[in-house]
């Protein structure tokens, strides 16, 4: 299992030197449905999606169309009911839950729609956390976490806990936490939702920057202005991709 992950590391190296012709994300006929008592909600009804390494993709679509569900699939947080998903060449459905945890930790930076910060925990500790699970030494952790927080403009809020931060600041802590492991893929679910235009623009500049360094970026947004920054936009409606 470790071998599988190591192999993944090579294929998804952020600088892309080992990239193959095949797309880093390959989805074939992915479905996901939720049973609510007698009712079945089909959140995804057969998604075919290829995303190349280093691509910058925006996902748009009405509320409830399955954007967050799709992001969870890509980020190995959830598994599909049917269909095939290969991430960096690995069949994700064949991995154990711990293998998926390692992939999330090392290769994916997730910015959640609801931030998902730990309560009663300082910004610095929040951002250090993924590095702890990655086995990085404590001193190195603090240094890199500080750097990441400075990058999102929160260098002066290291000791603040979530309840002492504004919504936009919380969102930026969540972004710093996603960036700190230097993942090869960033998944951001409406990262500008809680930000004013100015801060939102700065964040978009940051994403442009990261993308130019080779990071794959997939971003859900409702704002056409934000989506314009991406290489391409995927439209989702009722769990299906529209062309």
């Amino acid at each position: 299992m470790i071998d599988v992950t190591e192999q993944t590391t090579e294929m998804m190296g952020a600088n892309g030197r080992n990239a193959t012709d095949t797309a880093v994300i390959q989805m074939r006929n992915i479905t996901k449905s939720y049973e609510m008592g007698t009712q079945v909600v089909h959140a995804l009804r057969g998604i075919d999606l290829d995303i190349e390494e280093g691509e910058y993709v925006a996902i748009m679509g009405p509320s409830g169309s399955g954007k967050s569900t799709l992001m969870n699939m890509i980020g190995c947080l959830d598994v599909p009911n049917s269909g095939a998903y290969r991430l960096g060449g690995d069949d994700v459905s064949a991995l154990t839950s711990d293998d998926r945890a390692r992939i999330r930790n090392r290769h994916i930076g997730f910015v959640f729609q609801q931030f998902n910060l730990l309560p009663r925990t300082s910004a610095l500790k929040q951002v250090m956390l993924p590095l702890m699970y990655a086995g990085v030494s404590r001193g190195e952790r603090a240094r890199r976490a500080k750097e990441a927080l400075e990058l999102v403009g929160l260098g002066d809020r290291l000791d603040h806990r979530p309840d002492e931060l504004s919504g936009g600041q919380q969102q930026r802590v969540a972004i710093a936490r996603a960036l700190v492991t230097q993942p090869s893929i960033i998944l951001a679910d409406e990262p500008t939702g809680a930000l004013d235009t100015h801060t939102g623009d700065e964040l978009m500049n940051l994403f442009d920057n990261l993308n130019q360094k080779g990071m794959t970026i997939i971003m859900v947004t409702h704002e056409p202005m934000v989506a314009e920054r991406a290489h391409r936009t995927i439209w989702l409606r009722d769990g299906l991709i529209q062309n």
Partner: protein, 406 residues
């Protein structure tokens, strides 16, 4: 993630939720404190009793008449004392004394008491470790040879009759006859044959001629019991055998017939009392163990609640890369640290309670190191056992469901 990181994370979480941590520990604190305090009482109690018994004098044999086997006659006399004192008969016995015991009315001035009067040989008191005098002296061999009317008082009866008056040299009346008081014993706080503090001691010869004039079957002046001192704890059994053989010969008891006397040794009494106090301690320990188990269940409850309450936190940790093992270890270490910490606080509390109770109720409190060790390991075990299930549940949460938990 290595163990020290898990420890650090668990500690972080304990400190971040002080109130919840204290509440979780409370059960274990109370459990361990009651183990320590109850065991201290139990141990102290048995130490007190054992101490009292051995202070009376160990390796003592008390021989008395078995009225049923002797046909209603007292069986023992001074001739038996002489026979037992002969090393040829009983080489493992170092000293023998005799006592004639009866209840009498004792009068001084206006005070009147019905109490035990013991006619004794010169060495009876010292053999029973009653050789400390508040006032005056004991009985001499001369007093016994001359059937003198002199008396030594136990501390209790002396203060009952005299109050603050000075007893030495005064006359008391026993059964209507005057005796001169020559000594008052120190308080001894008990005794095997009646309360030594409330006994009046007079020469055995005087008692035999004036108070209990009963005779043995062959017409000798009777004694109520004989006390024999075995040479050591290992010789007690041999001494019992020698006493039995000597007395059967003295009393002409045919082969196959029952002894007309009984022998009572303190080691068997000590054994009995040790059994009783051991079961008392075990009983107290069992109560305390129940308290600990209840404390453990409390930990499990709060840990389970805490797993539910922290479902989102677990989801977040898993989403950013925590393995099942990391979550399992974090929660397990958290519950073990809480119960161990609770254990240490419980020891301090239990110790404080023991000291306070010991001072307030004048009890001896003995905190045995084994008790402390036992309760700490019990506390750690409780944390482990009752922490496993909540930790296992936490580690098995699916990240996406945990994240969505409200």
């Amino acid at each position: 993630m290595n163990l020290s990181e898990s420890l650090y994370t668990a500690l972080d979480s304990i400190l971040a939720n002080k109130m919840r941590s204290v509440l979780t520990m409370l059960g274990v604190i109370i459990g361990v404190a009651s183990v320590i305090a109850l065991m201290a009482i139990g141990n102290g109690f048995s130490e007190d009793i054992t101490g009292q018994i051995s202070s009376i004098g160990s390796n003592l044999l008390t021989i008395s008449t078995d009225m049923e086997a002797s046909g209603g006659y007292p069986a023992l006399s001074m001739a038996d004392v002489a026979a037992l004192s002969d090393p040829l008969n009983a080489p493992d016995i170092t000293e023998v004394s005799a006592t004639v015991q009866s209840n009498q009315t004792v009068v001084f001035g206006g005070e009147e008491k019905n109490t035990a009067v013991a006619g004794i040989t010169e060495n009876t008191l010292s053999m029973s470790s009653l050789d400390e005098f508040q006032l005056g002296d004991g009985l001499t061999q001369n007093d016994i040879d001359l059937q003198s009317r002199v008396a030594v008082l136990g501390a209790g009866i002396a203060s009952d009759l005299y109050g603050s008056e000075y007893p030495i040299g005064t006359q008391i009346k026993i059964n209507g006859v005057s005796y001169e008081v020559v000594g008052v014993l120190e308080e001894s706080g008990g005794g095997l044959a009646g309360d030594t503090d409330d006994t009046v001691y007079i020469p055995i010869t005087t008692a035999q001629s004036r108070l209990s004039t009963s005779r043995t079957r062959d017409g000798q002046k009777a004694v109520t019991f004989i006390t024999a001192q075995a040479a050591g704890a290992e010789q007690v059994e041999a001494a019992i055998e020698q006493v039995t053989e000597t007395l059967r010969e003295q009393h002409n008891i045919a082969y196959g017939e029952d002894d007309d006397f009984g022998i009572f040794d303190q080691s068997s009494l000590l054994d009995t009392i040790n059994t009783v106090t051991a079961s008392l301690t075990a009983f107290l320990g069992a109560i305390a163990a129940i308290a600990l188990v209840v404390g453990g269940i409390g930990i499990m409850n709060i840990m389970l609640v805490s797993v539910t309450e922290r479902t989102r936190e677990i989801g977040i940790r898993k989403a950013i890369g925590a393995l099942r093992r990391d979550i399992l270890l974090q929660f397990l270490l958290e519950s073990m640290m809480l119960s161990l910490l609770g254990g240490f606080l419980g020891i301090i509390l239990g110790w404080a309670i023991s000291m306070a109770a010991g001072a307030a109720f004048d009890l001896t409190m003995v905190i045995a190191p084994e008790t402390v060790l036992l309760s700490v390991s019990f506390a750690a075990g409780v944390g482990l056992i009752f922490g496993i299930y909540p930790a296992w549940r936490a580690s098995n949460l699916r990240p996406i469901e945990a994240l969505r938990y409200e």
